[in-house]
């Protein structure tokens, strides 16, 4: 039985036919601002049609976080919701894994890296599985 290829959890997660998954950003050539997902106009400097597609870095530092103990029904808790500043620019949000969800164990500015894996077993209504990104201590 052949497994169908997982789909990306968000549009800015790219899964090349041959090669490793990566996160894609759009960078304004005028001011350097980095966006997640496609756009044509820079909301910082207002330049039009100056966007270039870039590969985002897979390492960064923990800017901020919260530990979620209550979420919507069916969502496993606790988990760490993390805001990560990527090396080279761009900020993304995701789950920080492989560290205890305990404020005494988590340090601001700690180095983290991006890993990719199955989206916690979640499938869409057509039964497709998904690939997601996660952060873990570097």
């Amino acid at each position: 039985m052949s497994e169908s290829k997982p789909l990306p959890v968000v549009d800015f997660l790219k899964i090349p036919e041959d090669g490793d998954p990566y996160l894609e950003g759009y960078r304004c050539k005028k001011c350097g601002s980095i966006y997640l997902g496609e756009r044509n106009v820079c909301s910082k400097c207002f330049a039009r049609d100056e966007m270039e597609v870039i590969k985002l870095s897979e390492t960064g530092i923990l800017h901020s976080y919260a530990i979620v103990f209550r979420s919507f029904p069916g969502i496993d808790v606790p988990y760490i919701s993390a805001i990560v500043d990527l090396d080279g620019g761009g900020t993304i949000k995701g789950n920080l894994i492989n560290i205890e969800p305990d404020p005494d164990k988590i340090e601001f500015n700690m180095p983290v890296k991006i890993t990719y894996g199955d989206a916690l077993g979640r499938k869409d209504k057509d039964g497709n599985s998904y690939l997601s990104y996660f952060f873990e201590p570097a």
């Binding site: 966006y35 901020s64 976080y65 979620v68 601001f108 979640r122």
Partner: protein, 380 residues
């Protein structure tokens, strides 16, 4: 341009009214504000109505169907948690523009229980708990932790804000709750999103508030004794910041609106005697002490530790009990805050009266982001 005055203002006691309709809840506050102004619906030249949950359902017109269909123009507004303040500001602007002399602003909301927010939208699979959390307690916890990172702000300091606001609400009969919550109780309550426990999250309630705004000419005609002058009405959206794709920025937006408001009023933060600010979560209130200039950056923790923001302190904050205990009916909050400040400026706040209050400020933030700030002044 004419100065603008609040001639009548009121709110219902916040609570849960599942058997009533949204317009019915709004109509009650509208009638109370009209009574407070000594006017009738037939005297109103326009209605500005704020509601979020039924933003596409003509709530303003349906309120008039309950209290008097005069044919006046009605504008329905939705602007997240700044909805009520936006309705009030539109009313203010219509008088500033010279269009009207007497207008009504109403804010109303009927809420369900439970968590708001959530990164669940779009195609594919739910993202909540997979790409972090979009729940409001978490989003504001992340904003608070940014402050903790910068200044070493502690869980206990955040919790003290909730102790203070719950204490204040014991003196406010219109608050949802009038219950003291000691520090250990706040800190040991169910953790929702660290560092926000359940008692550090605003209460989802149903409620409404309304205000009658008039021109100076009309105010003089009606009598100034209880009129409150609107010294500033400011609104800002979120300016570009590096992280705002993933971290709604409540700080930059508030700072922009605050700067505008102080300039309009020609005053500084030191002139403000009381503030009703957007404590949707305890972590949020901490940020706004600095955002509104009530203290310097990095001093917010001291503001709560040293009691400056308590009733009797240098600048009491959320003496109504705030969203944490008075409750947070989204569309009504921005006018309920104005009711609270006006009540103090009129010297009618009873046990929680801020003595000698002459100038007060209201602040709301709706994520997305909209910030509304009003500065109000006693007239005599």
């Amino acid at each position: 341009m004419s100065d603008v005055y609040v001639m009548g203002v009121d709110m219902i006691k916040f609570g849960r009214f599942p058997d009533r309709s949204v317009p019915n809840i709004g109509a009650e506050a509208a009638l109370m504000a009209l009574d407070d102004a000594g006017l009738g619906i037939q005297d109103m030249q326009a209605l500005y109505c704020g509601n979020l949950g039924q933003a596409n359902a003509m709530v303003g017109q349906r309120i008039l169907q309950e209290i008097g269909q005069t044919g006046m123009p009605v504008v329905n507004v939705a602007n997240a948690c700044a909805t009520g303040a936006t309705a009030f500001r539109e009313a203010w602007m219509s008088i500033k523009a010279g269009m009207y002399d007497v207008v009504l602003a109403v804010g109303v909301e009927q809420m369900g229980k439970g968590l708001l927010g959530g990164a669940g939208g779009g195609d594919g699979i739910p993202k909540e708990g997979l790409l972090g959390s979009g729940t409001m307690p978490c989003v504001f916890a992340e904003a608070g932790m940014e402050h903790a990172k910068e200044y070493g702000t502690t869980f206990e300091q955040f919790a003290k804000i909730s102790v203070k606001n719950h204490h204040h609400s014991t003196m406010n009969p219109k608050a949802m709750y009038q219950i003291e919550t000691p520090l250990d109780e706040v800190m040991n309550a169910e953790m929702i999103s660290y560092p926000n426990t359940k008692l550090m999250c605003s209460v989802n309630v149903d409620g409404s508030a309304a205000a009658v705004l008039v021109s100076e000419k009309k105010a003089k005609e009606l009598g100034m004794s209880r009129a409150v002058k609107v010294r500033a009405s400011a609104m800002a959206s979120d300016p570009y910041t590096d992280r705002d794709l993933v971290m709604p920025d409540v700080n930059a937006c508030t700072r922009l609106a605050a700067k505008d408001a102080y300039e309009q009023a020609g005053i500084g933060p030191e002139d403000v005697n009381l503030v009703e600010l957007h404590d949707c979560f305890a972590t949020a209130e901490m940020l706004h002490y600095e955002n509104l200039g009530l203290c310097n950056d990095g001093e917010a923790g001291r503001m709560i530790d040293e009691g400056h923001v308590e009733l009797g302190g240098k600048v009491p904050v959320n003496v109504s009990g705030g969203l944490l205990s008075k409750g947070h009916p989204l569309g009504a909050t921005g006018i309920a805050n104005i009711y609270e400040v006006c009540t103090h400026l009129r010297g009618e706040a009873g046990k929680r009266q801020v003595e000698g209050a002459k100038i007060g400020m209201t602040h709301v933030i709706g994520l997305g982001t909209a910030c509304g700030i009003h500065i109000l002044e006693k007239t005599n």
